[in-house]
């Protein structure tokens, strides 16, 4: 058992039971999953991506490349979570990944034997040979062998939310710099949101002994911030992305111990934080060292070993080798030794500072200068290490290797907006580039690695951030608060006299590879894989191979080797890869450049991105005023766009194909009532409204009398038909336009665009009134009788209300418009009533019309009726057809002056092979036509796109035949010609004859009179 009886910030009075791979274990409140597993002597946590090598816990934070686990079961199963970031909770179920049949015995670890065939680029090479079809063979095996965790198949029962947050100053990171920045900004008067990815605030201070001065300082700062109502501290919250306008993407993981999804509480909340200014205090990440077998369980970052000791009371090893090229690892070594471990330091530097050596000596630590690791020995856990020293090789037994290759500032967030990080030779690291307005940095991310500097830096940045967002008050509000000094007696005192709480700049060569895989044969000490990217199994040899094969750009290197492309995004590997490539190319590191940093900094669950927008709430539904009537009268509702519309009514039949025919027949023989509230409706007002419509439509509206309606067609600028509809003149300067349901928003936007940009001089106002009116259509030979019965006070005679006429009135003290229009070919009326009384108007028509045989009909019958009449709609106005194609040229009475007129005269539009609208009638008994079928001449080979296609079909009860509309090459579209309609999806071929697209009542007698 590695858990100590003292030390740490865990609550030993609160044990927590959890399972790992089915084995029950115990941790404590305050543990991470990683610390609890370490405490339970778990050394192997997972298997590596490609070679299936055993891997342990490598870090103590989100940079973890190895210890990825799957948490939860069933629908709550979430894969690829670093155990280092998972807060231990009661009943937590964790599972290792990428192994079979067990973690200790994984069959696919055989991959290591074939590693010469699996080097960088092997994946791409499988695309090429030996035959083009080889990939089909390889793919199955490659996908099975390589991988991470698997997501659950069941629906996730948990709740996720999206929140919009606002702040004057957002501070990312609650380490010493972040706490100081938050306090400075808050005391100046700013509304501050302080974001911390951990479940505790404190950052690196949490890795200090909790009973020491750092702990006291931290507690004091947190107490001061807690007393400030203008400060919001968000722990368990990762800032995963920085976006334009000082927007931060946050992912808040709620405490799984206290969240109860059954009570509606969210498991995770995605926050979009809009701040006037941002202070990034994102700290730094310790760099690993590369040597043979540097991935073995028992090897971890030196700082992580210190964190597990001081924060969690876990001594990760008893015989410890700390390998370092900088001062900071001495803190870990001294603390580990003080906790009872036997510690040796292998320092690659020839002359570590005398103060360091003295402190190590007092701690009973042996320091070996000019000493580097050649190779780690061990399988499931490290057992020994081979050191290479001036005197030769030495083998040292150990059960833990702590490595430290210096520190890399965490520049991800500051780089998300395309700001390239800048290389600083003095610290051999990248720091943030020049940030945008309102963005500041403080602490280790700036390359300043001491705690006292971080606090001063944070204080400065907090004040600057406040000044930026509230310049008027900032001159009076600059706060210089009295912070307790924390630089004395903390950690190791470095030779420059600074606190050693954070490391001095690394003094090692930029690429301190300690292996035989050293680039260019720089070293040749030991056999074994030396990993640069632990998560993606990328070795030093892979980088050399990429270079050798010409992939020398850092972006090419990344893609060829997959380096940095894992869920950890190469947080521990990127710098070494750049260093390696710089060495291979004989260039300086900044000349090699960096890859592009993109969000997210850590993975974000799709469920969190969706929030509530799934299932019923995936999109907002639009309901017509008559919606409830449809539902209560057994309509089968259908989503069309955002609208819910009646598809057909079960009273007609339970089967849609029978129902729509019955509903069509009723319209033709008596009357039908259709809810058409979904039509787009636009009020066009103003002295220049008629002129505006003249320019928008291909046909004229200026001379349209008040009280009359006209069918109109709009073109796009390129001459293609955009939309059709009717417009009614309800006043001298007031028009009522209707559009198709699907194009309502597009037409509205188009009209506004034209008024704003093309004709701003026109005095015209356009307003969407789609929701103002409940709209319904009464169609059929009995429609006038029904209307007269429903509205006995109105004169609906043919003289008073002729075809294309308007009648206005009031209904229940709301406006009422009746426009005589026909879409079905029958005598028909569109009734528009105020939306608030729409349902009453509908019921009134039903009541009045029932004695005349009136029945409601759905959109399936509506579409079929219009096909019989030969009206074009969405399937024909498909963004490719012109006025001539659709037989609408006669509409364009004007010769010029409308949108699309000029480009509509292009020569290509008069090509005789262009398709034009035709009617088609099935000539085979018992067969049917299908929309989408391709038209070929009889005996013509069935290949290519044919001569045209069927766009819409229906069974016509009047004709007792399947009929349809189609678009057919003009040169072939003679009435009477026969074609074969091929429908490849069902393998059908049926004969159809070209006829007029108007199947019924070609003279329009039914709707006139």
């Amino acid at each position: 058992m590695r858990r100590l009886n003292k030390l740490g910030r865990i609550d030993r009075s609160q044990p927590i039971a959890f399972t790992f791979d089915g084995k029950t274990m115990t941790g404590f409140r305050g543990d991470s999953l990683a610390s609890a597993m370490l405490a339970n002597d778990v050394t192997i946590v997972g298997r590596s991506f490609k070679y299936h090598r055993p891997r342990g816990i490598y870090s103590a934070g989100p940079e973890e490349p190895n210890a990825l686990v799957t948490i939860g079961t069933g629908g709550r199963r979430e894969p690829n979570l670093p155990a280092t970031t998972v807060e231990l909770a009661d009943g937590l179920v964790a599972e290792s990944q990428n192994r079979w049949p067990s973690l200790k015995f994984d069959v696919q670890s055989i991959n290591s034997w074939f590693s010469p065939f699996l080097a960088a680029g092997f994946y791409y090479k499988t695309f090429m040979g030996p035959t083009r079809r080889s990939w089909m063979f390889y793919e199955h095996f490659i996908r099975k062998a390589a991988g991470l965790g698997r997501a659950g198949q069941e629906p996730d029962p948990d709740r996720y939310e999206v929140r919009h947050l606002f702040a004057d100053v957002a501070v990312v990171g609650a380490g010493p710099a972040g706490l100081a920045a938050a306090l400075a900004a808050a005391e100046a008067g700013a509304k501050v949101v302080l974001v911390e990815q951990d479940f505790l605030a404190g950052g690196y201070l949490l890795s200090e002994p909790s009973a020491g001065q750092a702990g006291a300082w931290l507690a004091g700062m947190l107490a001061r911030l807690a007393d400030m109502p203008n400060v919001s501290l968000m722990t368990r919250t990762i800032a995963f992305g920085a976006y334009d306008g000082n927007v931060l993407g946050l992912l808040e993981r709620h405490n799984s111990s206290s969240v109860d999804p059954r009570q509606g509480e969210a498991r995770q909340t995605l926050g979009l934080l809009r701040a006037k200014s941002i202070v990034y205090c994102t700290g730094s990440i310790e760099r690993p060292l590369t040597f043979a077998n540097n991935d073995r369980p028992g090897i971890m970052l030196a700082s992580a070993a210190r964190t597990y000791l001081n924060r969690y009371g876990v001594l990760a090893g008893k015989r410890v080798l700390v390998a370092a090229d900088n001062d900071s690892a001495y803190s870990a070594a001294i603390d580990l030794a003080a906790a009872g471990a036997q510690v040796t330091i292998a320092d690659s530097r020839a002359q570590p500072g005398p103060q360091l050596l003295e402190q190590a000596r007092r701690g009973g630590i042996a320091v070996r200068a000019t000493s580097m690791i050649a190779k780690a020995i061990g399988g499931h856990n490290v057992r020994a290490v081979v050191l290479i020293e001036p005197r030769g090789k030495t083998t040292l037994e150990c059960d833990l290797i702590g490595v430290s290759g210096g520190w890399s500032p965490t520049v991800h967030l500051t780089s998300h907006l395309g700001i390239k990080p800048v290389y600083r030779e003095d610290i051999r690291a990248f720091v943030p580039g020049k940030l945008g307005a309102g963005q500041f940095v403080a602490g280790a991310v700036t390359g300043s690695f001491t705690t006292e500097a971080a606090v001063d830096d944070g204080h400065r940045a907090g004040n600057e951030a406040f000044a930026f967002c509230d310049a008027a008050r900032s001159s009076q509000a600059q706060v210089k608060f009295d912070l307790p000094k924390i630089n004395a007696k903390l950690g190791v005192i470095g030779d420059d006299g600074n606190s050693g709480l954070r490391p001095k700049p690394p003094l090692s060569p930029a690429f301190s590879t300690q292996t035989n895989e050293g680039v260019g044969g720089k070293m040749n000490l030991a056999k074994g894989k030396a990993f640069v990217d632990l998560q993606m199994d990328v070795t030093v040899s892979d980088i050399a191979l990429a270079h050798q094969e010409g992939y020398q750009s850092v972006e090419h290197l990344k893609r060829y080797t997959t380096l940095g492309m894992g869920t950890d995004q190469g947080k521990t590997s990127n710098f070494y890869a750049l260093s390696a490539m710089a060495g291979l190319r004989g260039m300086a590191i900044p000349d090699v450049g960096t890859t592009t940093f993109r969000p997210p900094f850590t993975p974000v669950a799709v469920g969190a991105l969706a929030g509530l927008s799934h299932g019923h709430h995936y999109k907002p539904f639009r309901r017509t005023p008559m919606h409830d009537w449809h539902v209560s009268n057994d309509a089968e509702m259908l989503e069309t766009g955002l609208w819910m519309r009646p598809w057909f009514y079960h009273a007609s039949s339970r089967d849609v194909n029978e129902a729509y025919v019955a509903e069509m027949r009723n319209v033709r023989e008596a009357a039908g009532l259709m809810d058409i509230s979904t039509l787009g409706k636009i009020a066009v007002q103003g002295p220049d409204a008629a002129e505006f419509l003249d320019r928008v439509y291909v046909n004229g509206f200026a001379k349209l009398p008040v009280g009359r309606a006209r069918y109109g067609v709009m073109l796009r600028d390129d001459g293609i038909v955009f939309d059709d509809g009717t417009t009614t003149r309800v006043g001298d300067q007031h028009f009522f336009m209707t559009t198709s349901t699907a194009r309502a928003a597009d037409v509205m936007s188009r009209l506004e665009f034209l008024l704003d940009t093309a004709w701003p001089d026109l005095r015209v106002s356009v307003s969407s009134v789609s929701d103002e009116w409940a709209a319904m259509s009464v169609a059929g030979p009995k429609s006038r009788d029904i209307l007269a019965a429903a509205f006995p006070d109105l004169d609906v005679s043919n003289d008073a209300l002729p075809h294309m006429g308007l009648l206005e009135g009031r209904y229940r003290d709301r406006p009422l418009r009746i426009i005589r229009l026909s879409f079905s070919g029958e005598r028909a009326y569109e009734i528009y009533a105020g939306a608030s009384v729409g349902k009453e108007a509908w019921c009134r028509l039903i009541d009045a019309g029932t004695p005349f045989g009136l029945k409601p009909y759905g959109i399936e019958a509506l579409g079929a009726l219009r096909v019989e009449k030969g009206h074009v709609a969405g399937p024909e106005i498909d963004g490719r057809t012109t006025l001539d194609d659709l037989g609408l040229r006669r509409m364009a009475g004007k010769s010029s002056g409308f949108v699309g007129e000029v480009l509509g005269r292009r020569q290509a539009f008069s090509d005789p092979e262009r398709p034009r609208l035709v009617g088609l009638r099935c000539v085979e008994d018992g067969r049917r036509l299908r929309g989408g079928a391709i038209l070929f001449r009889p005996n013509e080979p069935v290949q290519g796109h044919g001569l045209g296609r069927i766009t819409s079909t229906t069974y016509s009860p009047t004709l007792d035949a399947w009929v349809g509309l189609g678009l057919l090459a003009t040169s072939a579209a003679q009435e009477g010609a026969e074609f074969i309609a091929h429908y490849p999806l069902k393998g059908e071929a049926v004969r159809a004859r070209v006829v007029s697209p108007t199947f019924l009542d070609p003279k329009g007698d039914w709707f006139h009179g």
């Binding site: 929030g611 709430h617 539904f621 300067q733 005095r763 009134v769 103002e772």
Partner: protein, 172 residues
């Protein structure tokens, strides 16, 4: 129409409302506003989102050349010189959703992009709510009105109710 549901920490009431829209022509805005202002109670709001409330008339400027008059009852009859602008009744197409309760901030931050703490009482802002355009008007410390398109209103109420469930454990 008026119906309401009382949630644990949030009340939602849905009501009809009278809205009259006034549009002025670009080259006649000064005359348009001078003509309209006295008939709407005095001053007109100058900035988009600002409101004025005089003589029981709440006026909000929702676009540079567009004003809305919001009324609880039937809107007054106001004629506009067609040379200056035009008017349009919009009361049928929108529903007033009245939200009130201690949890209103937490509910709203899960619905719309609005900084409740910065929004003054009487101030309005047009927002996207579940991708639907909505006018939000703050009417009190813990109250606001959402003017939502009628066809979307029920869907939005369902969303608010769902959000509210998750906020019951959140303090005011």
């Amino acid at each position: 129409m008026a119906n309401g549901s009382e949630q644990a920490n949030l009340g939602i009431a849905s009501q009809d409302c009278g809205i009259v829209q006034f549009d002025g022509w670009d080259d006649a805005m000064a005359r348009f506003e001078a003509d309209l202002a006295p008939r709407l109670g005095g001053q007109l709001p100058t900035k988009v989102g600002d409101t004025t409330y005089q003589d029981g008339k709440l006026v909000i400027r929702i676009a540079p050349r567009r004003l809305w008059l919001l009324c609880d009852g039937p809107p007054p009859a106001i004629d506009i010189d067609p040379e200056l602008g035009c008017m349009l009744a919009l009361g049928e197409g929108r529903v007033r959703l009245r939200l009130s309760g201690q949890n209103i901030k937490h509910v709203l931050e899960r619905c719309v992009v609005v900084d409740w703490d910065s929004l003054q009482e009487g101030e309005g802002v047009q927002v996207g709510f579940h991708r639907v355009p909505v006018l939000l008007l703050r009417t009190g410390p813990f109250e606001c009105d959402l003017f939502a398109p009628r066809s979307f209103a029920r869907s939005l109420v369902e969303w608010i109710s769902e959000v509210e469930i998750g906020c019951r454990h959140t303090g005011p």
